[in-house]
Symmetry: C5
Subunit: 371 residues, 5 copies
Amino acid sequence: MSRNHAKRRRAKRRKHHTVRPGTAPGTITVDPAAPKPLVRMIAYGPDELVDQKLESLEGIPAELGRHAVVWVNVDGLGDVAVIKRLGEIFGLHPLALEDVVHTHQRPKVEQYGEHLFVVLREARLNDRLETEQFSLFLGKNFVLSFGEREGDAFDPIRERLRLKTGRGRGRGADFLAYALLDATVDSYFPILESYSDRLEDVEDSLVQSADRTNLGRLHEIKRDLLILRRALWPTREAIAQVSREEYSLITADTRVWLRDCYDHTVQLIDLAETDREVCADLMDLYLSSVSNRLNSVMKVLTIISTIFIPLTFLAGVYGMNFHTDRGNMPELLWKHGYLMFWIVSGVIALGLLALFWKLGWLTERRATAGG
Amino acid sequence: MSRNHAKRRRAKRRKHHTVRPGTAPGTITVDPAAPKPLVRMIAYGPDELVDQKLESLEGIPAELGRHAVVWVNVDGLGDVAVIKRLGEIFGLHPLALEDVVHTHQRPKVEQYGEHLFVVLREARLNDRLETEQFSLFLGKNFVLSFGEREGDAFDPIRERLRLKTGRGRGRGADFLAYALLDATVDSYFPILESYSDRLEDVEDSLVQSADRTNLGRLHEIKRDLLILRRALWPTREAIAQVSREEYSLITADTRVWLRDCYDHTVQLIDLAETDREVCADLMDLYLSSVSNRLNSVMKVLTIISTIFIPLTFLAGVYGMNFHTDRGNMPELLWKHGYLMFWIVSGVIALGLLALFWKLGWLTERRATAGG
Amino acid sequence: MSRNHAKRRRAKRRKHHTVRPGTAPGTITVDPAAPKPLVRMIAYGPDELVDQKLESLEGIPAELGRHAVVWVNVDGLGDVAVIKRLGEIFGLHPLALEDVVHTHQRPKVEQYGEHLFVVLREARLNDRLETEQFSLFLGKNFVLSFGEREGDAFDPIRERLRLKTGRGRGRGADFLAYALLDATVDSYFPILESYSDRLEDVEDSLVQSADRTNLGRLHEIKRDLLILRRALWPTREAIAQVSREEYSLITADTRVWLRDCYDHTVQLIDLAETDREVCADLMDLYLSSVSNRLNSVMKVLTIISTIFIPLTFLAGVYGMNFHTDRGNMPELLWKHGYLMFWIVSGVIALGLLALFWKLGWLTERRATAGG
Amino acid sequence: MSRNHAKRRRAKRRKHHTVRPGTAPGTITVDPAAPKPLVRMIAYGPDELVDQKLESLEGIPAELGRHAVVWVNVDGLGDVAVIKRLGEIFGLHPLALEDVVHTHQRPKVEQYGEHLFVVLREARLNDRLETEQFSLFLGKNFVLSFGEREGDAFDPIRERLRLKTGRGRGRGADFLAYALLDATVDSYFPILESYSDRLEDVEDSLVQSADRTNLGRLHEIKRDLLILRRALWPTREAIAQVSREEYSLITADTRVWLRDCYDHTVQLIDLAETDREVCADLMDLYLSSVSNRLNSVMKVLTIISTIFIPLTFLAGVYGMNFHTDRGNMPELLWKHGYLMFWIVSGVIALGLLALFWKLGWLTERRATAGG
Amino acid sequence: MSRNHAKRRRAKRRKHHTVRPGTAPGTITVDPAAPKPLVRMIAYGPDELVDQKLESLEGIPAELGRHAVVWVNVDGLGDVAVIKRLGEIFGLHPLALEDVVHTHQRPKVEQYGEHLFVVLREARLNDRLETEQFSLFLGKNFVLSFGEREGDAFDPIRERLRLKTGRGRGRGADFLAYALLDATVDSYFPILESYSDRLEDVEDSLVQSADRTNLGRLHEIKRDLLILRRALWPTREAIAQVSREEYSLITADTRVWLRDCYDHTVQLIDLAETDREVCADLMDLYLSSVSNRLNSVMKVLTIISTIFIPLTFLAGVYGMNFHTDRGNMPELLWKHGYLMFWIVSGVIALGLLALFWKLGWLTERRATAGG
């Protein structure tokens, strides 16, 4: 398990190193380990819809003239030729294409000539939280979207497009782009809720006992919330930019829907920040519990030690071998010497207990959260 | 008790999961567990007032033409049909209606066509602090308000409307909207004051003794203040937006009153932030007390141990069985050997006490807050 | 003492609860425990001055026409009739009057029609720091000011007005308002300086020894600085607003003086923030000292314990009763057995001391701040 | 090793002291220990390229007229004459030249007359992270760049210029300046990635055990990230300024590329800030682990001590020498006295173990991160 | 020493109390303990220079007409008459003069009529860091500057003025003002560098051992950096204001030089902030070291205690006096009983050592920073 973990990490590290300093800017190089691209085209107008997986890209230009909206979705970035050819077909800027394949971009929006380029990050929660890049080009009558691998959150959108009655069919490419962005943003909700749930579990557990596993769990949650925050803050900016600025590609009607999407990003950030604060509070609570426990351990040690240490000394005294026949240690010869010893011992022990009682060490209530 | 607690939590979690990624935006789905709506209409002008609980919504359009202001209040969001019908009657945007039923919105203001949509959160302090959504639509001659369940803070407003002499009767719908917002905002005051009171109690308690229950109480207060803060900050923004921007629905006169309401939100945030800082300070004070106590426990242990450990060794020495007839341990045969032992022991003990005195371990005053 | 303390607190709490949710906005209700108002009028022009305590308010309107400036000062807010009558005489807005009697306002400036309404807070340092509200209305030819109780910082101003040669006599009401605001602001200086002095005392004390009383003192100072900060930040904003914005009531000349007053608020905030940081640093220093002391206590315990524990074991060994006649424990029969025991004990003790020396436990210097 | 370290530090300190207060502003003084300048000129147009190392600067003016772009690169700032002569040739402002040689400038952009002056910092990771100053003058047809020593990140750029087909050859001096800035910025990526890797190593190590070396490593990483942050924040501002503002020297086309470079600085800052937070989290994790370990050490001590202390007392009691013939200590004479002693001892020991079990001290799981 | 310290403090406190609330604003009162003023005038034009110490101020007006620039520098503020007379000669505003003598102003810039008033703070590092006020009036053809005592950083400027060839001689009063401000700002560099050096010393020392003196040193450095920060932040604002805003007194050429001075303030703040962060990091490092050391002390105690406690019990057992003739304690009669005892003791000790080895308590490396 731990080995796999280390391997996954090393894999992750390699992925990072995609910007080689000194490479000419605008150069498109792909990670050879990335999955091969799967291309799917959905072309539609108010009255028709074509949905096909493409082996060759050469049919796209023809479809562009024939339908109101053409949506080409590419899952997997492992083939330079495909990326470049798409760049030619849709007339994309080399810097934008470079950003598509270098999958560590922060969410952002950029206008290149007549089309809009949007980068977001999708969150995936496998056994470790990861974010993947989702890039989107919006043109007058097309949307071109790129995901890092197969499997996306867009099936409900495809479903709705297929229904004639759905809202989306009669609207332009900008509404489709909105729908994709909105689905990507909304995919954060169940993930953030799972973290809230985990935090409540940790809190419940901490209230019971200051179990040490909680420390590791809190650390992991904190690290993942950091990842989410890094993805969400620029997402908010990007959506705000799309919905506010006067991009001619986006109609006023779509902007109303984007404003709603923007509200969702604000809510997500709010959730993430709250979770982070709760996380910090629970860490404090954990540390306080640990320090309380140390205190209580020390108190037990101190009470038992301080009671018995004088008694042991006393017993040691009467174990000494001074010769009683020279008048030393007359107590040893007393008739009730032994009884006296026990009485004195009892008095000392009770006296110390009374002292501890007065200091409040014996009476302190054990609070639930301070156990 | 703890079970109920867990149940309540689970219930709460379910409520969270209302935004299902992939749902078409603008879809109105209600939580089936939500209470059924109770609809109450108050329609009035300077000289008349109609107040009735509505079974059917179909009478509303007729009243809209007949009175200066129509206020429809809905408590409970458990019936899609009612929500949708109200949307049709008043001509509301589907996105706004969606926000009404998804009751986890942050406070905000939005203009949809000719009406204004405001979301605030009401705080309720049952055995756990909770916030509920309060939504309000303001039109030219109507106010439509939604609460999550029966029971609201608006009875004094209804009372004042019923009095002919009240300020509100002769004014427009915007003044009614202000009154509702103001009542919602003001309902935070007693709650925040109760937290201030609880913090003062904890402080009093901490000054007496570093009782462990305080840790749990501080943690709870901190968590609740976080909830209040999350509700209050966007409330301030929302009220500021309504009172500043040039919404034609809001008259200059009402804006003066809204500015006062804005002042209240600023004061609330100020109270909440102060409480949070006090909370953090008390946490520090608690931790310092705990660490002080550990110190004092350790000191008692150390003083008693270090005094008796050498004495016990000495007693052990004279308990050894070396044969005195071979000249070993001549002290055992001395006439005053036993007396000497006690004298030496006393000198050692007093010497160590003097050392501790010099180190300042015995003289330190017990400070109230450091006990 | 502690009882009085609790009483004062309870009194304070009651005072808080002045905004009752549901009360009609603009309603003037007074705290029945507030002192009765004492009204004093000073009316003056370049060449004359009238100064009288007023029993009845009805003489004011006449004076308003007769003098260049009329200053009515009210100390004590315990009589609704007086407040309301003044509102009628000077034509004040009900919301402003409500803010005058609800004495928990944050400092602010508001323009109501033709007059300006300013709220500041005065700091009073009795046996606990408290802030009281000071409200001021500025009109074309009058200043109306309200304090919570008798005793204010304005006697030097009255004195200067009485002198013909003073700067203020020939200037308008706006200069008088400036003088009152400036005096209120300046009254924070000696209070903040007293906190700086107390912090230096605590620092001196901490350098001597980590006395526990310091913890309580630091906590109190921190809490009071929080109160001061809450009062000062909005004061700065309020003074900035008065001195910057184009209120026609304030002449350009007075604005220069207000800019100076603004500088004072900036300086006060700077002092308060510095004190807060010093406070936090001292808290850290205190905690470090405590933790250092724990360390040193533990070290003494460890050194003495680890030296004597093996020796005590050795003494215990030779106190065993194995029968020497069966060949056990031949050491007991040796001629120099006892001497050997002491030698071995000495070697062990010196060896352990050497070890501790090498670990650096014996040589560490006692630093002043780390004692 | 430690000596060299100290030496390097002292060297570094000396370097700091370059601004002598009282020196006339605009004076150019060089650090005598700085390396002598190596000057290299690359002059090119769409169809030709001259690349030569210059011994004398006097040939430059002639080349300026002959080629589209002249790039003079100077590595080493140890010769006042060279710097001054270049200032004359290119007509540079004395303040800018002063900034070139005082190599502790923060990244910035300044316009002096017709040319633009940009300062960035290059990061170098030898056995300690260091940043060096890179300064650049951009004129209509020239770029003049200064590095602190030989060895730069620009070889790939020279390579691309030499290729006729490269993007850069046909463009102006502003594109060359962009390429140099971009290469300087991109050189931070591998350095930041090395810190991320080191942090992951530390995390892996902390999960295994709370080894103390991690503390030192975290401290070093934290300090280096602070250095990087100091360099990166103003870099972002500088690049933003160049790419946004209307400097006539920069064409609209180059601005698009600079916007991409700006994105890189944002990403770098994001990486650095994330690393800093991870660093802080790991520090917390380390401290929690240490405190957990202290707890577990104390618990072992307490369990063993509290079990044996009463037993030792009991053994001491029966080692006392009270005379049994006077009726004292009858237990010593019992037939099964010794057996009874062991039984009582066993009961005490088991009783205490049961108590510790109940307190949860024996069962606690050892969590990975809390070991 | 400590007495002097206390005295100096008390002196410092007295100095603070210069704003008496209630004093008429604009009143000039001097601290009677302040040094008497020393007035020096340097009047110059492109071709002449007069430099004289003035006993009487009455010669100044005549010089004002005769030279291009008149610079009057006053060191010491202990004479009201001198200050007031200068106010009359140069036509200064009473509020500005008040700020000159109340030497606790924050750095700021203010325009009074035709002249500009600038306040900065000079840092002086005697045995405690102190800041003194430097005030400057700039008029069309004069500069009037005030320092708190003799000795300033301006001798190099005077030197340069005396040289005919210097830059300053031919320029106006605004360039002289710039030179004075720049020299004041630059005087912070060596002070901040000395703090950086001290921090590096502390770091070196902490890497060696967690000596307690470091705590006190860090505390002092932190406090002084706080003082520097308080002085530097408003300095930056003041210089920015002078260099940006359209004060007609400042020529465009001088503004370029002021922009350079502004860069210096930014660099200073950057240095100070970095030092503060380093300081906080070192404090953390110190605390971690202390806590590590406590851990290691506890471990030594625990190892030695837990090894010997059971052995001591065992020895105690065989020191008991149960009568062997009744069959008790047969071990005492065994032939190899004593040998067996040592064997059992050895097994117990080795077993416990093995346990500690397994817990990793014996093998842990001592890291340099965690010693």
